[in-house]
Symmetry: C2
Subunit: 258 residues, 2 copies
């Protein structure tokens, strides 16, 4: 973080490109997905995902069992996207039977969004089962994996989703300042023109990276360099398996100690 | 930047509060203005200013003499705000007579926006005269001062504006990752409900700071700590007078040498 690089110079372009590939590697991408980096906090990338992937004439079903699910409702409201809500207590995981029924009952729903692991409570939602139900109904799944990405497996070949978002500063252990979206390319292509904010337009941001490897707008250079190092340390720890294993040991020690 | 602080702890809240006050000091605020910090690059805070201050039924006049003026047109377009354009070549400053005529001719215009100093060319616009003309017509002035703030005087008592934006990483010499908006409080209050993106809602962001001193969403902690140090060095150099003086000396040396 004590180095400053010109964000439009080759060295930095290489860091950006390597980072996008490393992040795609974490979901075991085989050429079907794309990684788009975005300035700002986790909420910025969540909002970009919701406003870009849900078209203005689409409808979002928000699965809520905590504060971050509620925040997505607020995001949809501010963006003017029609949405409905299925809600559980904050100590109960999402019930996939109820989800299945809701999707059968409302064909207007185009997308479903869920928090992988609620940061506020730590509750883990059954993401694989949710993905199966959503895929069976041919709807798009948008995952906020802020507090899970990098510590819990998320294989894009086994678990169908349109987009998943996370940030530099949770399980990947970088510093805050940027988020990223990993999207199925076919779904990402369809988001063109959906954004209501130039800064939060994931399609345009993706096109920028593809055209010349550069960020459209000034990136948080030092944050990115720290994240580059964090990803090196993540790989050295054994990736998702190694990091998840350490977290589980920490959890067990904590729970047993209490 | 090598320290990590909890962003909701008192130490960090104090840094945030001190920073907001220091930035207000740069425009010589006497209690009439507010400072709102925002995650992201300069474009994020420019977009937040445009989308928040120009209401959905307002109309923006964009004064263009370079790439950043053009970008504001694109921002207005994506946000769905009606706008018109006055354009000059990139080596010509904004002509205030033409501005005066345009405002007389179109009473629908509610706001005028201008780039203080075009980053791409370095051309300086006659901001004081522009502010006078806009004030005479009782319209709101929105200034993108990205490449000028901190090096050129901008006294909010002498130069009427609704909002001015800049970022951490230009003349104030911090690292990239955040921007800020200095707004006349009366104008800021009226922006409530205008935003189309939760992340870019300057009113809500301001209310967050006012309520508990915290950022609504995770701030770029290390960027902020670097900016705090940068502001200390800025004051030590003699503030706007000292910094501007060094830049002018550098410019003269460069021009004479060439």
């Amino acid at each position: 973080m004590l180095h400053d690089l010109g964000s439009r110079d080759k060295t930095f372009i290489d860091v950006t490109q390597r980072m996008r590939e490393q992040l795609l590697g974490i979901v075991a991408d085989r050429g079907t997905h794309e990684c788009v980096l975005l300035q700002g906090s986790g909420t910025f990338i969540v909002e970009a995902m919701i406003a870009c992937f849900v078209p203005r004439d689409g409808k979002l079903l928000v699965l809520v069992n905590g504060a971050y699910g509620q925040r997505i409702c607020r995001i949809a409201e501010v963006a003017g996207r029609p949405f409905s809500v299925l809600e559980w207590a904050e100590n109960e995981p999402v019930d996939v039977v109820a989800l299945d029924q809701a999707l059968s009952a409302d064909p207007a729903i185009t997308h479903v969004t869920v928090i992988h692991c609620e940061t506020t409570s730590g509750i883990l939602n059954p993401i694989a089962q949710i993905a199966d139900v959503v895929a069976n109904h041919c709807r798009g799944l948008l995952i906020d994996s802020m507090s899970a990405f990098g510590a819990l497996e998320l294989d894009c070949n086994a678990l169908p989703f349109d987009a998943v978002v996370a940030s530099s500063n949770k399980c990947l252990e970088g510093v805050p300042g940027m988020g990223f979206c990993i999207a199925r390319r076919e779904a990402l292509v369809k988001t063109q023109g959906n954004a209501q904010a130039l800064s939060l337009d994931l399609y345009a941001q993706w096109q920028g990276f593809e055209q010349n490897g550069q960020w459209r707008f000034t990136p948080p250079v030092q944050c990115l360099l720290a994240f580059d190092q964090a990803l090196t340390e993540f790989e050295a720890e054994g990736g998702v398996a190694g990091r998840g294993s350490r977290y589980r040991e920490n959890r067990d020690r904590l729970v047993n100690g209490m």
